[in-house]
C-alpha cells in the first residue's frame, strides 16, 4: 500500500468510527486501536499513540456544544481530574514497559466490558439522596436543568469514585482510549451523579486526561505523524458531523450494531494477545 492509499483508507475508517462513536455515545476511540492493529497491521504502540491524539480532539471539539446545555459540573470535573491525570501518567509509563501481548489482552477485556455495558439499561437516577459530608465540604453537589425545572443532586461515595477514576485514567494512559466504561462505574454507579451531568462532565475530563499521557507518548516516539494525521482528522470530522445530525430514532439499532462491532473486536484482540502475534 502506498502512503496516499493508506492515508485515505485510514481517514475514511476513522471518520466512520468517529461518526458512529458520536451517534451512539459509545465513543470512537475504543474501536480505533483494534481496527488499526487487526485490519491495517499497525503496531499496537503506534495505534495507541494515534488514538490518544484523536481522543483529545473529539473531547475538546464536543466541549463547546455540551457547555451550552449548562449541565456539566466543573468542580466535579476538576476534582476527579486529579485522579485521572495521575492515573494517566502511571498508565503511560506502564505502557512503555509491559509486553504488547499483555496490552492486547487488557484491551480485549475492556472492549468486552464496554460491549456488555452498552447493552445494559442505564441505572435510574436516584432522587433526594442525603448529602454526603465529604462531597459537601468539597462543594461537589449541584443542580441541573430538568423537565421540572432545576433539579439538585447530592454526590455520594467520593473516595470510591476518586479511586475508580484513578483506574480510568490509568486505562486511558495505557490503551489510548477515553475509558468511558470505567467512568460509568465511578460517576454513575458509585458517586450517583445524574446521567446527563456525568456524561457531559466526563467528556470535559477526557481531553485533560488524555493530554496527561500524550506528552509521555510523544516523547517516547509513539506518535507517528503519518498515522496520527488521518486518524485525528478523520475522527474529529466524523464526531463533529455526528453531533450535528444526531438522528434520535436511528440510534437504538445503531447502538446494537456498534456494540456488536465492539464485541467482535474485543474477542479478536483477546485472541491476538493470547495466541497470535501483535
Amino acid at each position: 500500500m502506498t502512503v496516499l492509499e493508506f492515508t485515505a483508507i485510514v481517514a475514511i475508517v476513522s471518520f466512520v468510527a468517529g461518526l458512529l462513536g458520536s451517534l451512539t455515545g459509545l465513543g470512537g476511540g475504543v474501536v480505533l486501536v483494534p481496527l488499526l492493529t487487526i485490519l491495517f497491521h499497525v503496531d499496537i504502540r503506534y495505534a495507541i499513540g494515534a488514538s490518544l491524539v484523536s481522543v483529545i480532539a473529539t473531547s475538546s471539539g464536543a466541549a463547546a456544544a455540551y457547555v451550552k446545555e449548562g449541565i456539566s459540573n466543573i468542580r466535579i470535573g476538576m476534582f476527579l481530574e486529579i485522579a485521572t491525570t495521575a492515573g494517566a501518567l502511571l498508565g503511560a509509563f506502564l505502557a512503555t514497559r509491559i509486553p504488547t501481548s499483555a496490552l492486547a489482552i487488557i484491551f480485549g477485556a475492556v472492549l468486552l466490558y464496554s460491549a456488555y455495558l452498552s447493552r445494559k439499561p442505564r441505572p435510574l437516577d436516584q432522587r433526594s439522596l442525603p448529602p454526603d459530608p465529604l462531597a459537601t465540604s468539597l462543594r461537589l453537589n449541584g443542580t441541573f436543568p430538568d423537565l421540572e425545572g432545576q433539579r439538585s443532586y447530592n454526590v455520594q461515595h467520593v473516595p470510591t469514585g476518586f479511586s475508580l477514576m484513578f483506574g480510568a485514567g490509568a486505562l486511558s494512559g495505557l490503551l489510548g482510549i477515553g475509558s468511558g466504561a470505567v467512568k460509568v462505574l465511578a460517576m454513575d454507579q458509585a458517586m450517583r451523579i445524574p446521567f446527563k451531568v456525568s456524561t457531559t462532565t466526563s467528556n470535559f475530563m477526557i481531553g485533560v486526561t488524555a493530554a496527561a499521557s500524550a506528552g509521555v507518548y510523544l516523547s517516547r516516539g509513539y506518535v507517528d505523524p503519518g498515522l496520527a494525521m488521518p486518524v485525528m482528522l478523520g475522527v474529529l470530522g466524523g464526531s463533529l458531523l455526528g453531533s450535528r445530525i444526531l438522528v434520535k430514532a436511528e440510534t437504538k439499532s445503531l447502538r446494537l450494531v456498534f456494540s456488536l462491532v465492539i464485541l467482535v473486536l474485543g474477542l479478536q484482540m483477546l485472541y491476538k494477545g493470547l495466541w497470535g502475534r501483535i
Binding site: G70, P131, P230
Partner: protein
C-alpha cells in the same frame, strides 16, 4: 463586570454559584473549540506537504521503530518545521492539540480565583502540575 454587592466568602456554602460557573464554562468551551480547529488546520497543512512529497512511497507501520528525535521533542519539531517538513508541521499541530486542554486547566485557575475558591485553585494547580510534568518533564523539552 457589572457591579455586584460585595459577596460573603461563600454565600451558598453547599452550592456552586451557577451563574459564574456557567459563564466560565462557556469561555472555556470556546477556548477548547478554537484550539482544536487551529490544530486541525495546522495538521491539514502539514498533511498536504507530506502527501505531495511522499504519496507514492510504501506505507509500513507493522514494525515499531519509534520516531526520530525531530518528531519527539519540542525543539526537534520546531527545527523540522523550520526546514519545511510536512511531518514536522503535523507534529506541531498535534502539540497544539495537546496544549489545548492544558490551557483550559490554566484558565480555570483564574476562574476559581475570581470566585475566591481557594480549595479549587489548589486542586487545579495540582492538575496543572501533573500535566506540565508530562508535557515538559518526560523528555519532550529536548
Amino acid at each position: 463586570m457589572p457591579a455586584t454587592p460585595a459577596p460573603a466568602r461563600h454565600p451558598h456554602p453547599f452550592q456552586p454559584q451557577p451563574w459564574r460557573d456557567r459563564r466560565l464554562e462557556i469561555i472555556l468551551g470556546n477556548l477548547l473549540r478554537t484550539g482544536v480547529l487551529l490544530s486541525a488546520a495546522v495538521v491539514l497543512a502539514g498533511a498536504c506537504v507530506y502527501l505531495v512529497r511522499h504519496a507514492h512511497e510504501p506505507a509500513n507501520y507493522r514494525v515499531f521503530r519509534g520516531e526520530p528525535s525531530d518528531y519527539r521533542t519540542i525543539p526537534g519539531v520546531i527545527r523540522s518545521v523550520m526546514n519545511g517538513r510536512g511531518r514536522g508541521l503535523i507534529q506541531l499541530g498535534l502539540l497544539l492539540l495537546i496544549a489545548t486542554p492544558i490551557a483550559r486547566v490554566a484558565f480555570s485557575i483564574a476562574g476559581f480565583a475570581i470566585e475566591r475558591d481557594r480549595l479549587y485553585v489548589a486542586f487545579t494547580l495540582i492538575v496543572l502540575a501533573i500535566l506540565l510534568y508530562s508535557f515538559l518533564g518526560s523528555g519532550m523539552g529536548g
